[in-house]
Each structure stands twice: as C-alpha cells, then as structure tokens.
C-alpha cells in the first residue's frame, strides 16, 4: 500500500514535468491541422518534419542555435576560469581585517538585486562599446552574471580539500599553480562539473539580456529567436516547438555525459566522501 502510494507520487511528479515536454515534442511533429484538433490527438497523427525544415532551413534558427552554443560555451568557460581562480584565492588566503570574507560577500551581493535593474545600464555600456548586437556582449554579460555563483560554489569545494595536500605538493617541488592544476583541480572535478552544468543552463536559457542586447539574426540566441515567433500576425507553434526541441538537446547531452560527476558534485559537502 505504502509502495503503491509512493509510485503514485512519482507518477504525478513525472507527469507534471514531462507532459509539457511531450506536448512540445508532439507539436513539433504535427501538421498545423493536427495541432489544434479537438479532441487533442495525443498519440495518432501524421508525423511531419515541415516545422524543422521551416525553422532551420527557411528561417535563421540554425544561426540562433550557433549563437546560443558559442555564447553559452564561451561564457561558461570564462566564468569557470576566472571564478575558479578567485574562489581558490578566497578559500586559501587570509586577508587582513577579514577582508577576504567581506570580498566574498560583496561578490555575492551582485546577485541580490533583480537582473532587470542592470539591463538598462548594461545596454548603454554595450552601446558605447559598440557591442550591441554582438555575441561578445552576451558572453561578457553572462560571464559576469555567472561569476558570483562559480566563486561561491567552488569556494565551498576548495575548502573541502585538505590544505596539507597542496602544501605537500609544494614541498615536493611544485609551484602553487602546479599544485592547483595537478592536485586540487582533479579532486574538485565533480564540483567543477556541477558548476559548469549550472552555468551552461543559465546562459543557455537566459532571455532578458539577450532580448535587450541582441536584435539581429546574427547575434540572437535561441530563446529570443523562439519568442520572436509570437507575432501580431500569428503564433508559429510548430516552428517554436521544433526549435525548442533542438534547444533541449545540447544541455541534455552535456548533463548525461557528466552525470556521474554531477551526483557526487551536488552532494559533495553534504556527505563526507
């Protein structure tokens, strides 16, 4: 009985998360007449690839996808490199008057106001730098946006690594950066994977800044591109769904490939491993 209840709860949870995804996937393969059929065609419809062709051949969704990939990967890499070094310093070096703790808090405080607050000044800055409608503007923005998160998350992971290990490495003849690369980073790899995953998801799904900073097909990312199909003349459900299905794939692939790290990374700190 208890077991049955548990399965029921799982089924409800799965249904609520997966039903929209299922609906989106089916819409992307349905002809328009089937999309609005009443009663809804849950399983039986004539599959078609017309929306995919429409999105990626006739329209610029291929371009958006490329922009999204470039922006997400570059900003994640940037935030990881800068954030990891900052986090390592904050975890290892004490500054006078507890300045290191204050610094960490200041870094976090940049995430305490709503993102929209920075949208206008950011747009003005990017305009003056002639970076509006470029991927670089988004890469910079997302790197800055993800940095506090990377710093805080990685600082926790670094704090878990015993200091003795790096000290041993340095006495053994390695430089501090060498010890970081050869000893510490391999040990925090699960944390790094989890952090990277989070950054990728944030950058990949980000809509607000992308909307403000990019309006041309060359620089626009997928979320903006998809939303742009809601026009005053009509809503292209099929095209939007097709693009959304494609947008799911990269993140899903990355998540699956780092899955074994991810579980450890997210639970690291909670469980002594």
């Amino acid at each position: 009985m208890k077991r049955l209840l548990r399965y029921f709860a799982v089924a409800v949870a799965l249904f609520t998360t997966l039903a929209p995804v299922y609906w989106m996937i089916t819409i992307s393969f349905k002809r328009e007449v089937d999309q609005f059929a009443l009663p809804p065609r849950w399983f039986y419809f004539t599959p078609t690839l017309e929306h995919y062709v429409d999105a990626f051949v006739a329209r610029s969704f291929g371009q958006y996808l490329l922009s999204s990939l470039i922006v997400a990967i570059c900003s994640t890499a940037g935030a990881l490199v800068l954030g990891t070094l900052a986090a390592y310093s904050l975890a290892r070096f004490r500054l006078p008057r507890n300045f290191d703790r204050k610094l960490a808090l200041w870094i976090l405080s940049t995430r305490m106001f709503p993102a929209i607050v920075t949208a206008v000044p950011l747009f003005l800055i990017m305009r003056d730098l002639s970076l509006v409608n470029t991927r670089l503007s988004l890469i910079i923005t997302y790197t800055a946006f993800n940095l506090p998160f990377v710093v805080w998350m990685m600082r926790g992971f670094f704090a878990e690594v015993p200091r003795d290990l790096e000290e041993a490495a340095m006495v053994d003849g390695d430089s501090r950066l060498g010890a970081l690369r050869r000893i510490v980073l391999p040990l925090v790899a699960p944390g790094l994977a989890a952090t990277a995953m989070f950054c990728l998801i944030v950058s990949w799904n980000e809509f607000l800044f992308a909307l403000v900073l990019t309006q041309t097909d060359d620089a626009m990312t997928l979320p903006v591109g998809i939303a742009g199909r809601v026009t005053q003349y009509g809503i292209k459900w099929g095209v939007m769904s097709a693009a959304a299905v494609v947008a799911m794939v990269p993140i899903l692939a990355f998540a699956l490939s780092v899955q074994r790290y991810l579980v450890r990374g997210l639970s690291l700190g909670a469980v002594k491993g």
Binding site: P162, L165, A168, A169, D172, G173, S175
Partner: protein, 359 residues
C-alpha cells in the same frame, strides 16, 4: 645538510607562537622538537619548510639563508601528520610525483620509485590508491615520497601519531634505522617524550614558543634545565616538593620531610638563599619504598598501587602532595597501608620555585 635558525619569531596577530628560537642542526643529525600542543614546534617546522613566513629571524639551510625561498625551492621533504597522500593517484604516482614535477625522464622515475618502494617494502602496493591502504602502509608511502628524491633534509610532523600503539613502536624503530642508513638531516616534531628520547640525537624541548633546552636525550633526562623540562620528560613524571634549603645544616625541609643533603649532592650550596622557596624534583626511580620501618626513612601512606608488569608504580600520599615511586614488579601493598620511603638525594634536582630554573 645543516639547518640553522637564528632568533626565529612567528606572530599571528597579537600572539607570538615562536619566540626568538635559535637552533643549530648539524649535517646528518636527527633532531626532535618536543613540546606540548601549541608550543610552536609545528610552526617552527613549517617555517623551515617554507609553508609559513617567519615574522623575524633567519633560517639557513646548508649555510644559505632561505627565508625568501618558496617551499618548492628549498629542497627539503616533509612528512605530514595526515600523510597528505594524493587521493586520486596510485602509490607509484604518489611516490613519483616529486620526480615528475622535476621533469625527470620516465624510466629514471620508474627506477627510483621501484628502489624506494623496495626499501620500504611497499613494492607490491604500487598500483593501489591511497584509500585502499592501511594506516601503516600509507605512512610508508608518505615516507617513500619524501625519500625518493634524496632531499637535503627530512621534516616530519608527528608522523606516527595516527598509528595504533603497536605499529607506532614498530615504525619508530624503522624510522630510526632508515635515518641511520640514509644519514639525512632530520627535524622531527612530536609531543611524545618517548619518541623524542628514542629517536633524537638531540632533543629541543619547547614551551610557549620558547626553547627550554636543546641537548642529548640523556642530558635532558638527567639534567633538566628547568622545572618544565623536568616535568615534561620522563614517564611517569618527576615528583616535586616545595620547601626551602637550610644551607648551614645542609638540609632540604618542608612540613612533611627533612632531607639531609650529603656531600655528593651536585648542587652548589652557595647559590641558595635560605629564605627563598626551592622546588626539589625527584624521579620515581629515585624514591625507595619499604613496607617495614627503617631508621631515617619517612613514613607515608599508600594511595594506590599500579601494576605495570615489568615494574610496579606506587603512588604515595605525603601530606597534601602525591608522589610516584617506581618499585620492583613484585611489590604489593594495600591502599592506606603505611610505608617508609627514602629519597636518593644524590639524584635530586633543585629548581628555583619562582623562575623554575635549575639551581
């Protein structure tokens, strides 16, 4: 290589952890830094390794000042209390790590790793990860990693404290043997006085950041420089009696005892001020205990008897003070039973009660 420190001082904020410490350690010598926790011995070791910056003073290795060199350029090897093995590497990679960062050729690394692991009898474990090893095996890997590159000195920070008692004794012997064989200068930190006595050519006793005495184990045991050293070294600890010395009659007296100090007494009596309080220190083996009355001996009561197997410790109640005496293994007495004791005053130590310094 020789290691010297001069007026070495380390302060954190307002607390001074190491206070004007000076030591000269000869090439090939095994020196033990001994002291209670918080006495600054580990900080001293870390300053020699370069892991801690000295606030002031000089550190010299082989005659060259190394204060400003980072740890990787001091060419000393350190064995940590936690062993600090790299968990993601195999035993072979752990031992070979110092050679890899020095960019030695792969076959050379392999050869040296094999030689060192054979020396420490861990050559069958080379492909294991540290978590698959027992405590003793980890200890050997940590030692091998220190030995493999023939450093100028070994620095060891309580390397045996995480082992169980039996293994600790075994590794203690092996460590001493290894040092005798390799003849590498070694600085060894411990709070265990037995380790210090057995391992060191010389022992530096530290307390509250200050050097108390730096001498051979025998000298430290038989002529402690002050009351702290006298109390810290030796197990069970030395007994202390507060009192005063009557110079003209050559006696030490307090409310419970009056001890005749005969001519063989090494302390020079002219130093004593009759009115000043004096602490007499006497080791448990220098108190004789008798179950029957003897002339000139002091009567006391037995507080408790502790059987050790090879010997018996008798704790005696003398006024408010408790004294420990070491007796033969077959000594038996009931609690509160009267016994008579005699002090071997030729082996007694006298300390200034105020400064703690030896008279």
């Amino acid at each position: 290589m020789s290691i010297s420190v001069f007026n070495l001082t380390k302060s954190f904020d307002r607390t001074t952890v190491v206070d004007h410490l000076s030591l000269e350690i000869a090439d090939g010598e095994f020196v033990v830094l001994l002291g209670p926790s918080g006495c600054g011995k580990t900080t001293t070791l870390r300053m020699i390794a370069g892991l801690e910056q000295a606030t002031s003073g000089d550190i010299l290795i082989a005659g060259t000042r190394v204060n400003d060199l980072p740890p990787q350029r001091r060419d000393v090897a350190m064995v940590f209390q936690s062993y600090a093995l790299y968990p993601h590497m195999t035993v072979a990679d752990n031992i070979g790590y110092p050679l890899r960062v020095r960019r030695l050729a792969a076959d050379q690394i392999q050869k040296q790793v094999r030689e060192t692991s054979t020396l420490l009898e861990i050559d069958t474990l080379l492909q294991r990860k540290p978590r698959e090893l027992s405590g003793g095996e980890r200890q050997r890997v940590a030692l091998a990693r220190a030995i493999v590159r023939h450093p100028r000195a070994f620095l060891m920070d309580e390397p045996l404290s995480n082992l169980d008692a039996k293994l600790r004794l075994q590794m203690r012997g092996e460590l001493k043997h290894l040092q005798q064989r390799l003849q590498t200068t070694t600085v060894y930190v411990t709070h265990d006085q037995a380790e210090a006595m057995t391992l060191g050519h010389r022992v530096a006793v530290m307390n509250k950041g200050k050097l108390q005495q730096f001498d051979t184990p025998l000298e430290i045991y038989s002529r402690p420089a002050n009351r702290f050293v006298a109390e810290f070294v030796g197990s069970p600890s030395m007994n202390f009696l507060e009192g005063s010395v009557d110079v003209s009659n050559r006696i030490f007296e307090n409310q419970q005892v009056s001890l005749a100090l005969n001519d063989s007494q090494p302390a020079s009596f002219s130093n004593f001020d009759t009115n000043k309080p004096v602490t007499l220190g006497i080791r448990p083996e220098d108190i004789r205990v008798s179950l029957s009355h003897r002339d000139g001996w002091h009567q006391t009561r037995v507080y408790v008897v502790e059987l050790m197997g090879s010997e018996t410790l008798v704790i005696l109640q003398l006024g408010a003070a408790k004294l420990t005496a070491r007796t033969a293994a077959d000594f038996r007495a009931e609690p509160d039973c009267p016994v008579w004791i005699e002090f071997d005053t030729t082996k007694a130590h006298f300390f200034d009660s105020e400064t703690g310094l030896r008279h």
